[in-house]
């Protein structure tokens, strides 16, 4: 039997964020963060990377936990949305530490109450045991995935390596210049739809940015995170919006999404004031569809508006042939699932269409 061995590395186990940041700064690109390890370790076993050092966040207590918190952005007052309730002194949102395990997030009473959509999405990640191991930060910083990439070395020897690992062509789109590996993690589309904000930390200092700005549409370097930066926490504002998440995949456990749909809508007096429509697993970043959002806003979110939003999402999505289910099917399902998710979020009965 072939045993998949991990390549040799040293493990540094800091107790504080500052120590972890120092270790990353000191070892440079030869170091890699590990939190739950449920993505890093399979990829190391597949021979997709060989870092000299893994810096573990498992012992960094301060990165764990969920608490009420105010907007971390310095200019937060200028950024209030139109339907955001005037400050009542109540907490404006919750902050989730990056090393919080997924099962803790799912079970947290504040999360379940304010953000049932987060619970819904997390309950569909991987398996119950993997959710006890995997963390929120690891999910948000998950590597992009592709049928030609997440394969053991022996498989890739046969098929030939690609741009994302030591090769120079893309096997999915051989004529092109870029890598189309997909961001298949489930939390990114949901938290982008909820307008989440992340705090990154490094030995150089802190940065606060919209979660959407953590990503770019490039399968090779899909994160704007610098190699020495640590995602410390994510803040999710309570907008009173209604949200939904739907996931397409072959089996209803274990499998990554071949399409994820996250929507959030704010409706006041029958008029949709704000909408977020974000697709997962069809691009190298969480794909927000402004045209679909515009189709819903400043009008009643009725069947016509929902159909227009679903059509706009269909137009924007260009899944490639690098995930579990065929791209044509996934694209058709964008239209179907965006409409379903919007009806679910708006509390409308499922359509028979």
């Amino acid at each position: 039997m072939t045993v998949l061995r991990l390549p040799p590395f040293d493990l540094i186990a800091p107790r504080t964020v500052a120590e972890a940041a120092d270790a990353l700064a000191h070892h440079g690109p030869s170091a890699r963060l590990i939190a739950g390890g449920t993505d890093v370790l399979p990829n190391l076993k597949r021979g997709l990377a060989a870092p000299d050092v893994l810096v573990s966040l498992a012992g960094v207590e301060s990165l764990r936990g969920i608490r009420p918190a105010a907007d971390p952005r310095p200019s937060a007052n200028g950024l209030r949305g139109p339907t955001r309730p005037p400050s009542t002194g109540a907490p404006e949102g919750i902050t989730i530490g990056a090393a919080t395990r997924l099962n803790r997030l799912m079970a947290d009473p504040a999360v379940c109450q304010s953000f049932p959509v987060i619970r819904e999405a997390v309950s569909q990640i991987a398996t119950p045991t993997l959710r006890r191991m995997g963390t929120v930060g690891g999910n948000l910083c998950l590597d992009t995935r592709c049928t030609y990439y997440n394969r053991p070395a022996l498989w890739r020897e046969g098929a030939g390596d690609c741009m994302k690992h030591e090769g120079d062509v893309c096997r999915v789109a051989p004529g092109g210049e870029r890598c189309w590996a997909t961001l298949s993690a489930d939390l990114p589309p949901v938290l982008v739809a909820l307008d989440a904000v992340v705090r990154l930390t490094s030995a150089r200092g802190d940065r606060v940015l919209a979660l959407g700005d953590l990503y770019r549409d490039d399968g090779l370097t899909h994160l704007t995170l610098a190699p020495d930066e640590i995602l410390a926490e994510v803040w999710v504002p309570v907008w009173g919006s209604r949200a939904a998440f739907l996931k397409l995949r072959p089996r209803c456990a274990v499998d990554f999404a071949s399409l994820g749909v996250a929507v959030a809508v704010d409706v006041a007096d029958g008029i949709c004031r704000r909408a977020r429509i974000v697709l997962g697993a069809v691009a190298s970043h969480p794909l927000r569809v402004p045209a679909a959002e515009a189709a819903l806003c400043d009008r009643a979110p009725d069947a016509t508006a929902i159909r227009a939003a679903a059509d706009a999402a269909y137009d924007a999505a260009r899944p490639m042939d690098n995930a579990d289910q065929p791209p044509a099917y996934r694209r058709q399902m964008v239209r179907v699932m965006v409409a379903r998710a919007l009806r679910a979020a708006l509390g409308q009965p499922p359509s028979t269409r």
Partner: protein, 173 residues
């Protein structure tokens, strides 16, 4: 300090109630250490990638995939493997129920199923059919079709010897 790839460190594990010391490098998984260093081959090596659940063990009573757990990160923790389920030669109620219902065929998934189910019963003494299905969602079986496994977990839950069970009941035949 420069990285010491081959550097070994001594870790202490409480395996099935017995303290053991092992010298390991950072890149060894708990699965490798259990099977290769401690000879505890009841924990199975399935996919080695987190996809099958065959390697499930309990770390401080919580299920973990031993193939994705670095041994050094288990230093100082309590481990339970399938070898630790029986007490003084008496099978755990789950093992008895698996035997009674024929819930193991080739047996490759069985130890992972038993460990995951043990954690479930320790937390929820009388789980519903749905709760058992949900808890075992990450444990793949290529033989049984799952029906017998799920029945066996619920049969074991009806066994008086499962801690937390309110009133005694007979193991139905």
């Amino acid at each position: 300090m420069p990285p010491q790839h081959g550097a070994r460190r001594t870790i202490t594990l409480a395996v099935n109630g017995r303290a053991v010391e092992v010298r390991v490098t950072a890149s060894r998984t708990l699965l490798e250490v259990l099977r290769e260093d401690l000879g505890l081959t009841g924990t199975k090596y399935g996919c080695d990638l987190g996809e099958c659940g065959a390697c499930t063990v309990l770390v401080d009573d919580e299920p973990r995939l031993a193939c994705l757990q670095l041994a050094v990160e288990a230093d100082g923790h309590r481990l339970t493997t399938v070898e630790g389920l029986a007490v003084d030669g008496t099978p755990h109620p789950l093992q008895a129920a698996f035997v009674a219902l024929g819930a193991a065929q080739c047996g490759f998934c069985t130890s992972g199923m038993l460990m995951t189910a043990k954690a479930l019963l320790d937390a929820v003494p009388d789980p519903s059919h749905e709760a058992v299905c949900e808890a075992l969602a990450g444990n793949l079986c290529r033989c049984t079709g799952y029906v017998k496994i799920i029945e066996a977990v619920r049969l074991a839950a009806a066994d008086a010897r499962v801690p937390g069970r309110p009133e005694p009941a007979e193991v139905a035949r």
